[in-house]
């Protein structure tokens, strides 16, 4: 009886051991359910401009609209607008990027809009512009820039404010080296990779017994480019005759070229970019350096970082045969490049530059990372980007390396085309070699720096 009574008593209370076990299981399942259906949905506090309110999400495109790099900035802006169009309506690299969670329906269901700023290729102006976009326009991400000094300045600011910064055109080792930041990501390649890819081609083309003289733009990018070129050309057996730092705004390089003429160098390496490179190369050609012999060999000119806009500025007669590297070129025939070139050309009437390419891809990669994370919460988006491996964006198999936020991908060795070899007004450079990602990969520890925490202090 006692047993029966006891059983009845338990029944009246409504809980059997089996019920308790069931309830515990159900409770546990219910407790865990949001984690299954809202990916990475853990402690998401307000950070930067997160959470995103309303039905739209705003991106900030901070590019040089005035100043020396205004043409590159204009092309970057075209690419950003195209990326927004594709994110909202589909098309472009949304069809080739793999893996991708992009649907052509905005980002996480929110329509993508944008604001623009002018960096003026000036660190202070770029910071002011980025801060305005973040504080007034409530952008969730900032991207852009056509100079390493500017990119690094914005990267620090964005990191401090909890806003992800997707670098535009920046090639200094410092951007993802000693100045790397948790909130900064670079798709473009860097000076170290240029040195690694270009030097073997130079030694094959010009021989191992060469003596190089460097003229170097006196700022972050120039310094790292010169160091990398010297390091890798010397590994190929070359020696270095000298290096002169030239002020960034130099237009007449005759005073520096005189020093080169007076040296025993038989290769001139111009660590200059943009208008700076156009001026130094044109000056060097005027000094007869393309037709000169030194040490019984033809004096050769090398431009480590090439762009189509620079080649156009220098003129095809001056760049004919000159070797350098590029991150991307519109003549590439992979699916991602082809679809990007087609949609860009359909939209604007001419093919995109490498600056446009990297900015377009950066916007898509950010959007895709938000979709993968299932949130705009920056630390989760950062985690989605870190060590993300993808293809279909124009540079083969690419890794967004988690340890320094540098994309490891194929890069191009380019050579200037002669005027007669050009097929169109945009055809200035030919691809000599596509150097694969493994070859240009390196240990990120060599440049030091710390990414810092996911949630800024």
């Amino acid at each position: 009886m006692t047993d029966v009574k006891s059983e009845n008593t338990n029944h009246k209370a409504g809980w059997s051991r089996r019920d308790v076990l069931k309830a515990t299981s159900a409770g546990a399942a219910a407790g865990v359910t949001p984690m299954f259906f809202t990916q990475n949905a853990w402690a998401e506090e307000a950070l930067g401009n997160y959470p995103v309110k309303g039905s739209e999400v705003v991106l900030g495109f901070n590019v040089p609209q005035t100043g020396a790099y205004a043409d590159e900035g204009a092309d970057e802006l075209r690419a950003y607008k195209l990326a927004v169009k594709h994110l909202n309506n589909g098309g472009g690299m949304l069809d080739t990027l793999k893996p991708s969670k992009l649907t052509g329906n905005g980002i996480l269901g929110k329509k993508v809009t944008y604001v623009t700023g002018d960096t003026q290729t000036n660190a202070d102006a770029s910071r002011t512009s980025a801060r305005r976009m973040i504080e007034r326009d409530k952008v969730i991400m900032v991207t852009g820039g056509s100079s390493s000094g500017i990119a690094i300045a914005q990267q620090y600011l964005c990191n401090e404010l909890g806003i992800i910064f997707m670098c535009g055109l920046t090639h200094s080792n410092d951007t993802t080296g000693k100045d790397k930041q948790r909130y900064g990501f670079r798709h473009f390649f860097n000076a170290h990779m240029t040195g690694k890819a270009l030097s073997p081609v130079l030694s094959k083309e010009y021989g191992k017994d060469r003596r190089a003289f460097h003229l170097t733009a006196d700022y972050s990018w120039g310094h790292t480019q010169q160091e990398s070129m010297q390091e890798f050309t010397e590994k190929e057996g070359w020696s270095t005759a000298g290096n002169i730092m030239t002020p960034l705004k130099t237009t007449d390089f005759s005073q520096y070229l005189s020093q080169v003429l007076n040296s025993d160098a038989d290769v001139l390496i111009l660590n200059h970019y943009g208008a700076n490179m156009v001026n130094s190369l044109t000056n060097a050609v005027n000094f007869g350096m393309r037709d000169m012999q030194k040490n019984g060999k033809n004096l050769e000119i090398v431009v480590p970082l090439y762009s189509r806009l620079m080649a156009k500025g220098a003129g095809s007669a001056n760049i004919d045969g000159v070797l350098g590297t590029s991150g991307w070129n519109w003549a590439l025939q992979d699916e991602g490049s082809k679809v990007f070139v087609k949609t860009f050309t359909d939209e604007y009437g001419f093919p995109p530059s490498q600056a446009a390419h990297t900015c377009y891809v950066q916007t898509l990669l950010y959007a895709n990372a938000c979709e993968m994370a299932g949130t705009f919460y920056p630390p989760e988006v950062i985690k989605a980007l870190e060590d993300f491996q993808f293809t279909g964006a124009g540079n083969g198999e690419t890794l967004y390396r988690g340890s320094d936020h540098q994309c490891i991908k194929n890069i191009l060795v380019m050579q200037g085309k002669s005027p007669s070899a050009r097929s169109s007004e945009f055809d200035y450079l030919q691809i000599v070699d596509e150097v694969d990602a493994k070859t240009v990969d390196y240990d990120p520890a060599i440049f030091g720096g710390e990414l810092g925490p996911y949630v800024p202090a």
């Binding site: 790099y69 000298g242 002169i244 002020p247 007449d252 005073q255 003429l261 208008a275 007869g288 003129g315």
Partner: protein
Amino acid sequence: MDMTLNAFTLSILTGLQLGSIYVLIALGLTLIFGTLGVVNFAHGALYLIAIYLAVSINNALGFGLALILVPPILFIIGVLLERGLIQRFYDRPHTDQILVTFGLAIVIQELLKWAFGANNIPFSIPSWGNGIIFMHDYLPFLEGFVVYPKWRMILVVVAIVTVSAVFALLHLTRFGLVIRAGMRDAEMLQFLGVNINRRFMVVFGLGAMIAGIAGVFGGPVTQVSPEVGMQLLVPSFLIVVIGGMGSLGGAVLASILIGMAQSFTAPYIYINTIIIYLITVIILLVRPRGLLGAKGVFE
């Protein structure tokens, strides 16, 4: 870097060539300032107009027409600028003059950028000016391989001819006499019944025309981009100050001095970037009126 005879010669040639560009810009600047008393910050923009005109005409019609057309066009632009804008600021404070001419320079720069883009436009040197000169042919004491671009030597010659022509105009003609008198005391000249305003208009046009000559020959050297005007303006102004405000001889001397200083300090970036300011400070400390500045004039 050891300074051999070859290196020394190359540095001298480079100094002369750098000085030639400066003198062609500073000459117009000091002429306008010395005569009209106007601090013309738009002078760099006049040079900018000249190089864009020159490269456009050169690419379309050839260098010969650029040489014939650009200086007179710049003269006309200068006259229109003086009549339309600058003359209204003769009696205004220097700060007003600086603000209006600086504003004008920015407008011109941005308009050219809008029309031609921010990137460089290649300015090809005519075939007769292309190539290099083997210096050993002219300077037998040099040993071995010393060359210099022919076009830069032509630029030096053009600067010498232009400077000589301006000096001849000012010192050998009645027009020059009136202008020099106007530089000393414009008010007295007006009391004597001389229509100095019309001559001032011509002087402004002349200053712009020299910028036109500088543009035609200097364009392939300084390159054609919207930033060039402003970049040359600051050193050119300092040259006017170092040489002595309004002194043409002083401008020539200071241009050569700055050109040489920049050339010889080229391997040393930190001195090279400040050398022009360093020289300005030293000269103004030692001789506040500038190298050849007349006592009492703009002192």
